[in-house]
């Protein structure tokens, strides 16, 4: 028997000490979604889909800017010392993923703006002759299109991985102690972005493409989740206890029903049937994927904060 009591005020005794609330899961979700949209829009640029004025890639940069700004707002709301946020940009701390992330996000905005000017939505193009002119000039140079595509894909991958590495670098929370969180969050982010593209797409080929991509991404995400849990279950006792939060513990039902069941397995089935033309394309699967991605981040952030080294 081992019984531990403490007079320390900690999150288990006083919930006001909880480190991260709703803001961080929302920020990680929107960051991952935007990362995926950057990867997909970059791919559309490289494959020449941007030449079709109905292509979803004309909508993605504006959506990305809005969603990223909402994510940054959530992050800002989470800060306890808000007036000092500018301190992030007075230094670069090489060992801090958050420092890397803040500098990378600073590069993301110009990359998204460049993409927006290259492929502006039709309405924006019609309303502003100047934007239409800039856009035409940029589109005339193949090297510019390629450069914007590569930069967007590269930054998208970095942001997507960063959302996972941010957690996995905090070794005091055993549930997050896995290098797989980086690729897992990246794949999850790209899958939610593919789902959004599926809903935005006006061109049938793009809808079919995003459905096919989502099947592959969701299967990969499922594989990463299994590997992530196997890794924890074969590590030390604290890591096994952390994994048990999802395997019999308080987060089991929400994780397996909402994230894995409704967020991964059901959309895989629906999209497979749609790709095989057994059923039509509907927003049901994409909405489930997006909701599953959001719940996944809430589960990971909240369960991770409950996992610990110290006795409670």
């Amino acid at each position: 028997m081992s019984e531990y009591t403490t007079t320390n005020s900690n999150p288990f005794v006083d919930m006001s000490h909880q480190v991260w609330a709703w803001e961080i899961p929302v920020y990680l979700f929107l960051g991952g979604l935007v990362a995926g949209m950057m990867v997909i829009s970059g791919y559309f640029l490289l494959t020449g889909r941007w030449r079709d004025p109905r292509s979803a890639c004309h909508a993605l940069p504006l959506w990305s800017l809005v969603l990223l700004s909402l994510g940054m707002l959530a992050l800002f709301l989470d800060l306890e010392h808000k007036l000092y946020v500018w301190r992030l940009y007075l230094t670069f701390e090489v060992t801090s993923p958050m420092s890397w992330g803040s500098w990378i996000l600073l590069l993301v905005y110009p990359a998204l703006l460049a993409n927006l000017f290259l492929t502006p939505p039709e309405r924006l193009r019609d309303r502003s002759p100047r934007i239409a002119d800039v856009s035409s000039r940029m589109q005339a140079q193949t090297s510019t299109v390629t450069a914007i595509a590569v930069v967007n894909i590269g930054l998208g991958i970095l942001v997507g991985i960063y959302t996972g590495i941010l957690l996995s670098s905090l070794g005091a929370r055993p549930l997050w102690s896995s290098g797989l969180l980086g690729p897992l969050f990246l794949v999850s982010g790209v899958s939610t972005a593919a789902a959004l593209v599926h809903m935005l797409a006006e061109v049938p080929e793009e809808r079919a493409f995003s459905a096919r991509a989502d099947i592959g991404l969701l299967v990969t995400e499922l594989l990463f989740i299994v590997l992530f849990l196997i890794g924890l279950m074969n590590a030390s006792k604290v890591h096994q206890e952390a994994a048990s939060l999802l395997l019999g513990g308080p987060f089991t039902a929400v994780f397996w029903v909402l994230v894995v069941g409704l967020g991964l397995l059901v959309p895989i089935v629906i999209q497979s049937l749609a790709v095989a033309r057994r059923i039509g394309h509907t927003p049901v699967a994409p909405l489930l994927v997006i909701a599953g991605g959001l719940v996944f981040r809430f589960v990971m952030v909240n369960a991770g904060q409950l996992s610990h080294w110290t006795p409670t």
């Binding site: 403490t6 989470d78 808000k82």
Partner: protein, 183 residues
């Protein structure tokens, strides 16, 4: 330059919380928070039970995860005594350090910055001991330079059995708990 650390004799500590009150008074720690606290661990099976009482705080780790994750450099290792300290004006309140600390030693001060034990650096610079050490009625707490082989803390660690908290976390804490009876 010194590398300050603390040695606490668990055989002498009675858990009176004088150290906690002294810290709150000395450092004006806000209500509902504490920079140090008492942990009591009972192990064994009745009637073979043993109890260990520990005065705990920031471990001033030699391998501090809170410093590594800080995005602004607010959490840093100071030159003076190689102590893990926080510059309030640099802290943005992102709480990464709170999540990174396996000891739960940090909290968010109501003014927005991360806060924790400083080993009473302001007192050390005046040649005094940390407030918690200076008030301990059982004299169970010792403070000094771990790099000086002649310091009291080094001699205690040389002659007595000791342990650190969660060595498996790899943080290399600088607070040692003596676990054997004094000779």
């Amino acid at each position: 330059m010194a590398r300050f650390g603390m040695v606490i004799d668990t055989a002498k500590c009675v858990g009176c919380m004088d150290c906690v009150v002294a810290c709150k008074t000395e450092n004006d720690v806000p209500d509902g928070f504490c920079r140090d606290w008492i942990a009591t661990e009972v192990t064994g099976s009745f009637p073979e039970l043993s109890m260990e009482i520990r005065s705990e705080r920031c471990n001033m780790c030699d391998n501090p995860p809170c410093v590594y994750c800080c995005p602004t450099g607010a959490s840093h290792v100071s030159e003076y005594g190689k102590l893990v300290q926080i510059t309030n004006e640099k802290c943005i309140g992102c709480k990464a350090c709170l999540a990174a600390c396996p000891y739960g030693a940090r909290f968010t001060h109501p003014d927005g910055y991360a806060d924790k034990c400083t080993f009473c650096e302001h007192r050390l610079k005046e040649g005094k001991e940390p407030a918690c050490v200076s008030v301990c009625p059982t004299y169970c707490m010792y403070f000094g330079d771990l790099d000086d082989p002649n310091s009291e803390v080094s001699r205690l660690l040389e002659s007595r059995q000791s342990k650190t908290l969660l060595p498996e976390a790899g943080t290399q804490p600088r607070i040692y708990f003596l676990t054997d009876e004094p000779k």
